[in-house]
């Protein structure tokens, strides 16, 4: 082949997706700036301590990792899927013992300059390993044994992450895994049965938390998780037989627990159509939106308050571009491995976006889930960019030269 012939008519990378991703990254840095630079003391910090700058660093690191991954065909990468999976399982186990505790959860390794959150990378490893596992011949996928192995691959990290506890991060694994199996061609009856089982379990759990007396709860949720569910369903914390004193205490506690989601909703709603303008958001600058969460899980509230419906619709449009170009990549992938891998990445992204934005407008209970590429956080940003790098990788090597 001549070098000229190498020049395909279609581009090697999906340019539209890259443009949308860059847009999201810029928006993210801008609004992390807006959410954190609220006081003079924040501005007086050295640059490396300013979060918008750190986010730039993470983005740079993530982009470099993504580009590096794109240099290797995803088939080669898939061979490393199993070791990567087990390495991540090890990390997830280690973090349960060695991790630092923040807000009652053991999710991070404190590396000094950086808090590593292994669950973010574990999600990636699960996608890669599951894609590689599901790329076996179609006949083998019909065997129940293989189906159960796939379920096991999903449930092991699920359990470990849920143990931290980080139910939100664990939960996104389920839709991602089932969608991958569905697209890979695992018989539908298996999927529907297990989905039915999961659904029944979830409903049981919710009914249990909401209605059963405490001694009747076989599945012990952490108290804060139970409270979040109660907040979401708008139910009283106090049991029906509580004394007035207990009820008063419970009501106060409830107000505090409802505070975050209430303030997020007020932020989003008060933005109106056009928003109050960049760095003009009262909810952030006056600290009503909790300062620890405004630039991470609630970054969407900041955007929605300052840029209004226009801003939030723009963000959703950018994600839509990424998601649908991702699906196009899946459709054009050269084999089942590529297709399932792409679907895994896209579904993971969609789950994050839906749960996070949903929680900002109270469609979803509060979960500690970041908004990919917008929320501040090194692990999340790097893992998201690596995932998107994998997606581009599937696109680049779709022709199989």
């Amino acid at each position: 082949m001549t070098p000229l012939a190498l020049k395909d008519t279609s581009p090697r990378v999906d340019r539209l997706q890259i443009v949308a991703l860059l847009g999201l990254m810029v928006v993210g840095v801008l609004f992390i700036f807006s959410a954190t630079m609220v006081s003079d003391s924040a501005a007086a910090q050295p640059l490396v301590k300013q979060l918008w700058f750190r986010q730039l660093v993470w983005l740079g690191a993530g982009l470099s990792a993504a580009i590096a991954l794109c240099l290797v065909d995803y088939h080669t990468l898939a061979r490393w899927a199993e070791p990567a999976y087990w390495l991540n399982i090890l990390l997830l186990i280690a973090v349960l013992f060695l991790g630092t505790v923040r807000g009652g959860a053991r999710r991070w390794f404190d590396l000094g300059f950086f808090s590593l959150q292994p669950s973010e990378f574990a999600k990636l490893a699960v996608i890669l390993a599951l894609a590689s596992f599901l790329s076996r011949p179609a006949e083998e996928l019909r065997l129940p044994g293989n189906f159960w192995r796939a379920i096991g691959m999903l449930l092991l990290p699920f359990a470990l992450i849920a143990k931290e506890p980080d139910l939100g991060s664990a939960a996104v694994l389920l839709p991602t895994g089932f969608t991958m199996m569905f697209v890979a061609g695992v018989p539908r009856k298996y999927i529907f049965r297990s989905l039915g089982l999961v659904g029944a379990l979830v409903i049981l759990l919710i009914v249990d938390v909401l209605f059963a007396p405490p001694i009747w709860q076989p599945i012990k949720l952490k108290e804060y998780q139970r409270q979040r569910l109660l907040v979401y369903f708008g139910r009283d914390f106090a049991p029906a037989n509580a004394t007035p004193e207990q009820k008063r205490a419970a009501r106060q506690l409830q107000q505090e627990k409802t505070y975050q989601s209430k303030q997020a909703l007020i932020s989003v709603g008060s933005g109106g159509f056009w928003g109050k303008g960049w760095r003009e958001g009262k909810q952030t600058s006056l600290g009503f939106l909790p300062p620890g969460a405004a630039h991470t899980d609630f970054i969407f509230s900041v955007i929605a308050e300052e840029k209004g419906f226009v801003g939030s619709a723009t963000v959703i449009a950018l994600y839509a571009v990424v998601l649908f170009t991702g699906l196009r990549i899946a459709g054009q992938a050269r084999d089942r491995l590529g297709k399932v891998l792409a679907v895994g990445v896209v579904t993971l992204l969609f789950s994050h976006v839906f749960i996070n934005i949903g929680m900002n407008i109270r469609l979803m209970p509060v979960k500690g889930i970041p908004l990919p590429l917008l929320s501040y956080g090194g692990s999340s940003v790097i893992a998201s960019l690596i995932a998107l790098g994998l997606l581009q990788n599937v696109h680049i090597y779709r022709k199989g030269y």
Binding site: G269, Y319, A320, R328, G331
Partner: protein, 671 residues
């Protein structure tokens, strides 16, 4: 749709997935539309209520000045030291970290942690229950604030303490407002404060106006007093998160012109952060200063009147003086004794002052010139004389007063049962002598002549006796006087009493001043004028002063000049007729001819010595030739009009004479 077209036509799974994504994003968009567009205003309101506090800013209260611009009520800056809580919040946090309970825990570490060198002994904060947490935080805030306040105390060189309950209450209820650390600090302390520049502690000096009456008790009853008030005046925003109290006038000019003096309070909005600390302020509506009230009083005359009561009768005398200009109706002085210091309502009452203020017997609260009514006694004989003259009495006709068999030196009137005693001796009387000796027999006999009593009632109506004048003092009583139309209940005894100013009639000293002016100015019944004008506080303002008209005539006596002159001469004789031992002679001054009439009215109460208590009067005007001023003196429980009241009136006339000389001198020099 582009999204689906790009997928392979037969790839059902991916198409399904695309559909799910579409639905999901649509749900989010609809949710956002619902929250951000449909319900936007409700959420914006929530931001308002949680991030803004409205604060009422009181307006600067107007001054009260005398006719020459002497200040009687004004505002003094009170320098207070304010602590801004938002500046202290880092200190609160630091103190909380310090006093937060913690426990030292010795961990039994697993071998690998031990091996990795984790410390076995750690210090951890103890987990606190909500109530305990609040308590520790309150204590931390108190400690931090108290230490700042101690340092301020060191600078001011006065020990300052912080009251725990007071501070906590302020923190809970008014966090967005500064806390007053020290109020009313002295100039020396202010200098120390400024010099040491401790503003960095989150404290600042604020001037707050406080009401002051520089002349103390002078004209206290005219001025009235104020109380601290935090209710909304009409046309103000009804709801404020915080309202700075201002003053509400209770009685006197402070009460009567309260709304004009008070002005219109403004409003500002304070933006607060999620912890309730102040972030910034915006003035919505500036306060509109109150207007100054310029009185017709002349402080010199007012003081002379008050001092003369004090000089002759002491602090506890129950007396009143009204000095009025006979042509314009301007009230130059209105004194009521015993008096009080209106400053006591701003600072605190001393126990002594409070006892006086509450004493029923002293009746300090009453303005005796307008609020109390008394029997007029002989001073009303001037009006009876006018009525009789109008009905054809010959002033020179002689009348014989009978001898009182029980008291041969005095006369008696036998026309009614029981007979009425006369203070005048028996003998022959014409009108002038009857006035000078104040003969009861003479005036009852003439008063009961056909038509005369009706004329007396008519003159009383023209003088508006039994009616309120409508002074802006909120302390006024109408008094009593018979009204035409009730003739059937008037028996001779009733009429006889009225003819000597007793019985079913009561008058205020103010009403008697109006009567005296009418006798002096040819029969014009004036509306007393107490307030000259309302003017804006800043003289640069374009707002013109609101001037109240002078010499408003409510009515005319409608009597002939001749008859008035006869009474006027009789009143002159009352002070000048030495041969007749004139009762009003004590008022005499060189160079000023004064017309007067004394009066002594018996009250129902008896003194300790068994005698009836007397209300004694002296009504007068001067100069005789061209009357200018009317002076009415009333003393409760006095000896007699001539002995008790005339000397007091004399002091007032001396002051008036001096004032008029000073005025001529100024005129002469300015020419």
């Amino acid at each position: 749709m582009i999204v689906f077209d790009q997928l392979k036509k037969n790839d059902v799974q991916l198409q399904l997935l695309a559909l799910v994504f579409c639905l999901g994003l649509a749900v989010l968009l609809i949710g956002l539309w619902w929250v951000q567009i449909v319900n936007a205003s409700a959420h914006q309101e929530s931001v308002e209520t949680q991030a803004f506090r409205s604060v009422r800013i009181p307006a600067v209260r107007g001054k009260i000045l005398d006719r020459n611009g002497v200040s009687l009520a004004e505002n003094r800056p009170n320098y207070n030291i304010h602590l801004y809580l938002e500046e202290l919040s880092p200190a609160f946090r630091k103190e909380y970290q310090r006093i937060r309970p913690r426990a030292v825990i010795t961990n039994d570490l697993p071998f690998w942690k031990d091996w990795l060198g984790f410390p076995t002994v750690t210090t951890q904060y103890t987990k606190l229950s909500i109530d305990n947490l609040m308590r520790v935080q309150r204590q931390a805030r108190y400690n931090a604030a108290a230490s700042v306040i101690r340092r301020i105390g060191d600078v001011l060189q006065t020990p300052l303490t912080l009251d725990y309950t007071n501070f906590t209450r302020h923190y809970d209820a008014q966090r967005a407002l500064p806390y007053t650390v020290a109020s009313n600090i002295s100039m020396a302390q202010m200098a120390r404060f400024e010099e040491r520049g401790i503003n960095s502690l989150g404290v600042d000096l604020e001037a707050q106006p406080s009401r002051a009456y520089p002349l103390g008790s002078t004209a206290a009853h005219v001025l009235g007093y104020v109380r601290s008030d935090d209710s909304s005046a009409p046309n103000e925003l009804a709801y404020f998160s915080y309202r700075m109290p201002d003053y509400r006038g209770v009685v006197g000019i402070e009460g009567g012109f309260d709304s004009q003096l008070r002005g219109v309070a403004g409003a500002k909005s304070v933006q607060v952060n999620s912890l309730g600390y102040r972030q910034s302020e915006t003035i919505w509506e500036a306060a509109e200063s109150g207007r100054n009230v310029v009185l017709t009083l002349d402080v010199r005359i007012q003081k002379a009147a008050e001092q003369s009561i004090q000089k002759f009768l002491g602090n506890n005398a129950r007396a009143a003086i009204v000095v009025m200009h006979v042509e314009t109706g301007d009230v130059l002085a209105m004194a009521s004794s015993p008096t009080f210091d209106p400053n006591a309502f701003i600072r605190k009452f001393t126990p002594d002052e409070l006892a006086r203020w509450k004493s029923e017997e002293l009746g300090v609260q009453k303005n005796r010139a307008t609020r109390e009514h008394y029997q007029a006694g002989s001073i009303f004989k001037t009006i009876v004389a006018l009525a009789a003259l109008e009905k054809g009495l010959n002033p020179l006709e002689e009348f014989t007063v009978d001898r009182n068999p029980n008291n041969p030196a005095k006369g008696i009137y036998n026309g009614v049962r029981p007979p009425v005693k006369d203070t005048a001796p028996p003998g022959k009387y014409d009108l002038e002598r009857a006035i000078v000796r104040s003969s009861n027999s003479y005036f009852i006999t003439n008063g009961l002549r056909p038509g005369v009593f009706d004329k007396v009632v008519e003159l009383g109506a023209r003088l508006h006796l039994g009616e309120r004048i409508g002074l802006p003092l909120l302390q006024e009583t109408p008094g009593n006087f018979p009204r035409a139309g009730n003739q059937r209940s008037w028996n001779p005894r009733f009429k006889a009493n009225i003819c000597i100013g007793q019985g079913e009639m009561d008058v205020t000293p103010m009403q008697m001043a109006v009567m005296t002016c009418a006798l002096a100015n040819g029969g014009k019944v004036l509306k007393p004028r107490l307030v000259d004008r309302l003017e804006s506080q800043d003289h640069t303002g374009f707002e013109p002063p609101e001037v109240f008209p002078k010499g408003v005539v409510r009515d005319h006596l409608g009597v002939s000049k001749r008859n008035l002159d006869i009474v006027r001469h009789a009143m002159l004789a009352e002070t000048e007729d030495v041969a007749e031992n004139a009762t009003g002679r004590n008022v005499r001054i060189d160079g000023l001819r004064i017309c007067g009439k004394t009066g002594t009215a018996e009250r129902d109460e008896r003194r300790a010595d068994g005698q009836f208590k007397n209300t004694v009067w002296f009504v007068s005007y001067a100069p005789f030739e061209r009357p200018q001023w009317a002076v009415v003196v009333m003393v409760e429980d006095g000896q007699s009009g001539g002995a008790t009241c005339a000397p007091i009136a004399r002091d007032v006339y001396l002051a008036l004479q001096q004032m008029s000389r000073a005025a001529t001198n100024t005129l002469a020099t300015t020419r």
